[in-house]
Symmetry: C2
Subunit: 455 residues, 2 copies
Amino acid sequence: MDSQKNITLIGAGLVGSLLSQYLAKRGHKVSIFEKRSDMRKAGYVGGRSINLALSHRGFNGLRAMGLEEEIRKVGIPMYGRVIHQINGDVQYQAYGKEDEAIYSVSRGGLNKRLMELADENPNISIQFDERCFDVDVQNAICHFENMQTKEHTTVKSDVVLSADGAFSAARLALQTKTDRFEYSQHYLDQGYKELTIPAGPNGEFLLEKNALHIWPRNQYMLIALPNLDGSFTCTLFFPFEGNPSFTSLQTEAQVREFLTREFPNVVALSPEVVSEYMANPNGSLVTVKCFPWVHKDKLGLMGDASHAIVPFFGQGMNAGFEDCFEFGNLMDKHGDNWEALLAEFQDIRKINADAIADMAVENFIEMRDKVADQKFLLRKKIEAKLNKHFPENYVSKYSLVSFSTKPYRYALEMGFRQDALFEKVLAIQGIENNWDSDETFAKLEVLLKEFQFLN
Amino acid sequence: MDSQKNITLIGAGLVGSLLSQYLAKRGHKVSIFEKRSDMRKAGYVGGRSINLALSHRGFNGLRAMGLEEEIRKVGIPMYGRVIHQINGDVQYQAYGKEDEAIYSVSRGGLNKRLMELADENPNISIQFDERCFDVDVQNAICHFENMQTKEHTTVKSDVVLSADGAFSAARLALQTKTDRFEYSQHYLDQGYKELTIPAGPNGEFLLEKNALHIWPRNQYMLIALPNLDGSFTCTLFFPFEGNPSFTSLQTEAQVREFLTREFPNVVALSPEVVSEYMANPNGSLVTVKCFPWVHKDKLGLMGDASHAIVPFFGQGMNAGFEDCFEFGNLMDKHGDNWEALLAEFQDIRKINADAIADMAVENFIEMRDKVADQKFLLRKKIEAKLNKHFPENYVSKYSLVSFSTKPYRYALEMGFRQDALFEKVLAIQGIENNWDSDETFAKLEVLLKEFQFLN
């Protein structure tokens, strides 16, 4: 049995709350400090998305704590994308095989459940309203300010784990107090705004329930994910500047004209959408990369604190839960040697975090633009066929990211090879009409060998 | 006459001290707050390089304040590079035309002189030992802590200008308190250590006085700049990790063996060099990029605060002094409209700061590696000839950066075109021997036209 550590865990968000389970299960004593008030009493305070897409890596992280089935039950499986063209045409693209789905889950609901589990565990305590404003990374000392009383508390522990999000206090301490800290924060020129499609009069879903809906419009897009109450939470991804943009649309009349023209079925289903647009804030979309993530045996950053990414692959939470899962495995491997544990955690996770960060930015272009393209649709169909015939040899990048635990870096590299393959596949004469023929299949096999998907 | 502004200027370093002159000259009231003690009383405290290369842009910034001639007199002109090969061979490369030189100046001496001028000016005050720990960028309010008394002072002014270096407090406020702030800090894998070649017994220079000395060794290098007292300040640029590196050389014996093997003439001239190596700290080399640099009419970042660069083009101070010069011009242009002034300052300087940042990193490779290459030497000779014949049409990137006030961005772009040209020039059969022939000159003219250097 490894010796018990006193661990200060900053942040009771999704990643922090789950991580506390992993730590407590191995006998460590975990004190969580959360800046916000207890959302179970105070109600969920926004600033982040209302629902999230939970996929294979996220479930894998929950499974090790015995939570997979419970959470799956309160999620809504989305088996594919429904594409809403501006002319009203609707297409469906399956995400993977028949039983493969990503799940729309409530951020608040999932977070509350993970907090309840933490509360039930005698090795875990949560203190709310405690804002970390400084960390002494050399000595694992954290300084907190109580948001209500303004009182300061200093906490020394054996290890500090920081899951305090994209604006992490511990990361800021690394940036400002250690030498040679690599750091970048980069924002997209586009932001987002949440809108709602309400449930029908009898609580029914007014769009296909088991899908992620996309209204791709090249330079911007709207998406919608289902909620348990029959509503959909929509997110408009939209430029901050230019025309049209958050800046150019100022009056209700301008907003109504724009939404009606671009997203007519949404306006028809959602009588409040214009006033929602006027009332709701614009969010920004940041990618954070940094290095190192750890300091000796004293400090480790987790989740968004070390690798905040944009939401276009639906992988922010999933990557964070995978952090927890890998951290659990490494605790088993390294036992009392926390310096080795933290170092290997950084070693295996950094390269994969960078990969999903880049894929997430890239997927924005796919979603807002390519997804409506005939060539893209054709590629999806051919990819599904290749995967069916060669399930071990051809798995699309999307599936590797969303339906496997293969490293993100592997998915990124396979994606490059798949793009190169499809440059040639889509150049085959008449592929639009003959893609499903035996003759074409023979050609595809040759290309699969050429690009080393087959031996 | 434009209305007088009360300006808080953070930092009395090279850029801050010079900028105060520009501001006071236009009638503004400037309060400088400097974190360090007064170096004129306390002596210069290290952490930065002892001497610097002042070139055309820097002199241009000093000239507008009537300081060019005074500073030129206390600088040592360096007309070219002396390359010290490992086998003892020495080559000389002129930097530009006969009268073109960069000047080795004492950082401390120059900074003290600029502080004296600030003290003499009734519109400028300097307060030392005042560390800025927070800035309210919306309201131009700065918070200082006195380093001696620990007392806090809050200063509200019309405008805050922040010239507080690579770890700027005002920039940190922009990063942590405003949305969508673009920020990156990137460190090279190499660091630096300062060493000394002392003056000879009669105060004489033991190496050629009027040159910048380089010992290029591919993966690392030593450089030396002359000081007025006959000594040279050397800087070893060296990897932090690997073999050899700051980490691999641990004992005096290892250091002596390494320095004697790689830099034999330096060890011969400098009996204390091994103990200096052991005693002196290792510095790190950061590039900082950020955006925006300004906030409405309230805040502007200057010099390293917005664009810290690595020293390999000798342009850090020069770029900062050019900031001052351009800021002066824009004060004349915009008068009371500080929002327009700050916006245009950012607009014209950001693109050029990015360009010199990238050229500075690139020049590291040139200095430590290519400079000793025969093809590089040949290119330098041909470039000098082209410049002599076509002084308006062919000016090398090095000369554009060091001996002109053409925008850095222009120099960067010309550099790309010049590299493309020399790909072809150096591929001319027999160019090594015939580069100065009439026949080759005719070929060069054809290529100059092809690459649009000539019409």
